[in-house]
């Protein structure tokens, strides 16, 4: 498109400079605070952070919930995406519209809706009591389960949409071919669908995992301080304790975990492919 690379680079310069100045530089400064204490470079902020049992608990809980939400959304996502892709065009459009719809509603509103649904007098507890599964209302709000449900609902559409586009790009006759050659449905999924849609799974998985790690409103509202996650702990450190070093440590871990998830998922995808 361009006569030479320099011209293209020059056009990209304002955007690149803007991103470097207002995004990259502040991020580097922020993150360096966790390593640069009282004028010398040290890891003490990190060892100090992990020496506190609360911080270890919060770190593990965040990681665990991120994994759980990603895994469950992948399972539900494959089923939903497979069903949607096989619909006639009109129905497919409608279903994709329905999947996208929640993304257009503010996460705050969606999260607050869960407070009503999961409450003592909410529809879930009414159903549980109505079916005779429990005599008194169960406590669902302000538990890890509530945060899990909230996060799953929040990020599942991203997984479904990534998988739909991956499934659509898959050759149409791959599945019938595998079936004709005698593969059962499990083998079809494991040896045909999964390898051919791994890109979608990597994209969706990264979006869901990083989203779950960095979501603030859902853990804050549905978990509260009984279910602290790294994001809610980060908020506490900045706005209550005014401890920017600890906040920088948490921010760094969130970034590392996001990158690690992406790299790991990509590795897993290519590793399967080579076999």
């Amino acid at each position: 498109m361009f006569q030479n690379r320099t011209e293209a680079l020059a056009l990209a310069l304002p955007a690149a400079l803007f991103a470097a100045l207002v995004f990259l530089l502040p991020v580097v400064i922020l993150l360096s605070e966790g390593f640069h204490i009282d004028g010398s470079w040290t890891l003490s902020a990190y060892t100090g952070f992990f020496s506190q049992s609360l911080n270890r608990t919060v770190f593990l809980r965040t990681f665990k919930l991120g994994l759980e939400v990603t895994a469950v959304s992948a399972v539900i996502g494959y089923a939903a995406a497979f069903a949607i892709v096989n619909l006639p065009p009109k129905g497919k459009g409608r279903m994709i519209g329905l999947v996208t719809l929640p993304l257009m509603i503010s996460p705050v509103a969606r999260t607050y809706a869960w407070i009503v649904i999961l409450g003592r007098t909410g529809i879930v507890n009414q159903a549980i009591q109505g079916l005779g599964l429990s005599d008194s209302p169960l406590r669902l709000l302000f538990t890890e389960t509530a945060v899990f449900i909230g996060l799953l609902q929040l990020f599942l559409p991203l997984m479904i949409l990534s998988l739909i586009s991956a499934l659509e790009n898959m050759p149409k006759d791959a599945i019938p071919a595998a079936r004709v050659l005698g593969a059962n449905w499990f083998q079809v999924f494991w040896k045909v669908i999964l390898p051919l849609t791994r890109e979608g799974l990597v994209v969706g998985g990264t979006l869901v995992f990083t989203g779950s790690l960095t979501a603030y409103i859902t853990p804050a509202v549905l978990g509260g301080s009984k279910v602290l996650m790294l994001e809610t702990l980060l908020y506490q450190q900045v706005s209550v304790a005014n401890d920017f070093v600890a906040a920088s440590v948490i921010a760094f871990m969130l970034i590392v975990m996001s990158f690690a998830a992406n790299i790991l998922l990509k590795r897993l995808a290519t590793a399967r492919n080579k076999r």
Binding site: I115, V116, G224, S225, V238, S239, V240, N242
Partner: protein, 340 residues
């Protein structure tokens, strides 16, 4: 190539340049709360009166104090409103100046409690609030702060997190009820820790509580009087407790930045804010309870405020120094026993 370079240079040169203000400017730093009301009741009338321009910075007190500290050598803001304990913290860090109360014509009208909250002449109280327990009067009876932890009630209680403004005062009163008045709050934190699985939630935003009360998730919660109005509109009976240990609360104060070039203007602004007229208007709008004892409000407004000499006199406030010296310890004890 040349064109592309010129275009990018031109784009970069387009960074907006702030027009320098011609008139006198007073920069204030306040809580990000009820700003529409403050604008119409305080800011706009003051601008009209002084012929100056008000620049308003908002945020919670921790971030605003952090900003003041960062700009210590070259102060940006002229006056700020913060909590009593934060005012003492600013004093210790050398961020604020003594307030020349002789220049405040309304100073004599203040409740004694508000005149010099920290006893160092560095701050003047402009509003306070009581903290007690809002509870479902058809389901329970609250006569002591310790009633919150009774086995039949505790599963229906939301307690303020230690990180909120209501947390430490509520813990302090619980401590009194348990026979400990030590501001290290170890006894009440341990008591809450024992029941942490039963307590519904440790809330951080009181705005959430009305909904929880409405859907019967909770029956009781310690709250500040400023969030009481929402509970009175529910269709369930909610009462304001008067526990035998008394009520607690907090006070917000005005401070003057050290090195501010507009100290006289800042004093005029404080005086304006403390005047009977302005304090009455703020009270009638239920924005802030008055610190000016000449303020008379309607019964309806009084019911939603922390109002009247007797109420004010009986508030058991944690002394600022005790709060400041123990804050880190509270958070640590809390996180070790309750937070996980």
């Amino acid at each position: 190539m040349k064109h592309a370079l010129i275009a990018s240079a031109a784009l970069l040169a387009l960074t907006p340049v702030a027009a320098s203000a011609q008139e006198k400017t007073l920069t204030i730093s306040v809580y990000a709360f009820a700003q529409d009301d403050f604008k119409s009741i305080v800011y706009d009338p003051f601008e009209a009166k002084c012929g100056c321009k008000l620049v308003v910075e908002t945020g919670n007190s921790v971030e605003r104090l952090a900003k003041m500290e960062a700009n210590k050598a070259n102060p940006v803001i002229d006056m700020a409103v913060v909590s009593m304990a934060d005012a003492l913290s600013a004093t210790r860090k050398g961020l604020i100046d003594k307030i020349d109360t002789a220049k405040l014509t309304n100073f004599g009208k203040l409740y004694d409690l508000a005149k010099d909250p920290n006893g160092d002449g560095m701050s003047v109280g402009y509003t306070f609030y009581a903290t007690s327990i809002a509870y479902r009067s058809d389901k329970m009876k609250i006569e002591s702060w310790a009633d919150l932890l009774k086995p039949e009630y505790v599963g229906h209680v939301a307690f303020p997190n230690v990180t909120t403004n209501q947390g430490p005062p509520a813990l302090y009163m619980l401590g009194l009820a348990l026979g400990s008045d030590n501001p290290d709050l170890k006894a009440p934190i341990a008591a809450v820790g024992e029941k942490k699985d039963d307590i519904v939630t440790f809330y951080e935003k009181s705005s959430q509580l009305v909904q929880l009360m409405q859907q019967e998730e909770i029956w009781a919660a310690p709250i500040g009087r400023f969030s009481w109005a929402g509970f009175t509109k529910l269709d369930v009976p909610v009462s304001w407790a008067t526990p035998k240990e008394g009520q607690t609360g907090g006070m917000n104060v005005m401070v003057m930045t050290k090195g501010s070039k507009n100290q006289d203007l800042a004093l005029q602004f404080m005086d304006f804010w403390l005047s009977t007229e302005i304090q009455t208007k703020l009270a009638e709008k239920l924005v802030d309870s008055p610190a000016n004892k000449e303020v008379k409000v309607s019964d309806e407004a009084a019911n939603n405020l922390t109002y009247g000499e007797d109420t004010v006199k009986n508030l058991k406030l944690i002394p600022s120094a005790a709060a400041l010296d123990n804050r880190a310890g509270w958070l640590k004890d809390w996180n070790d026993t309750v937070g996980q």
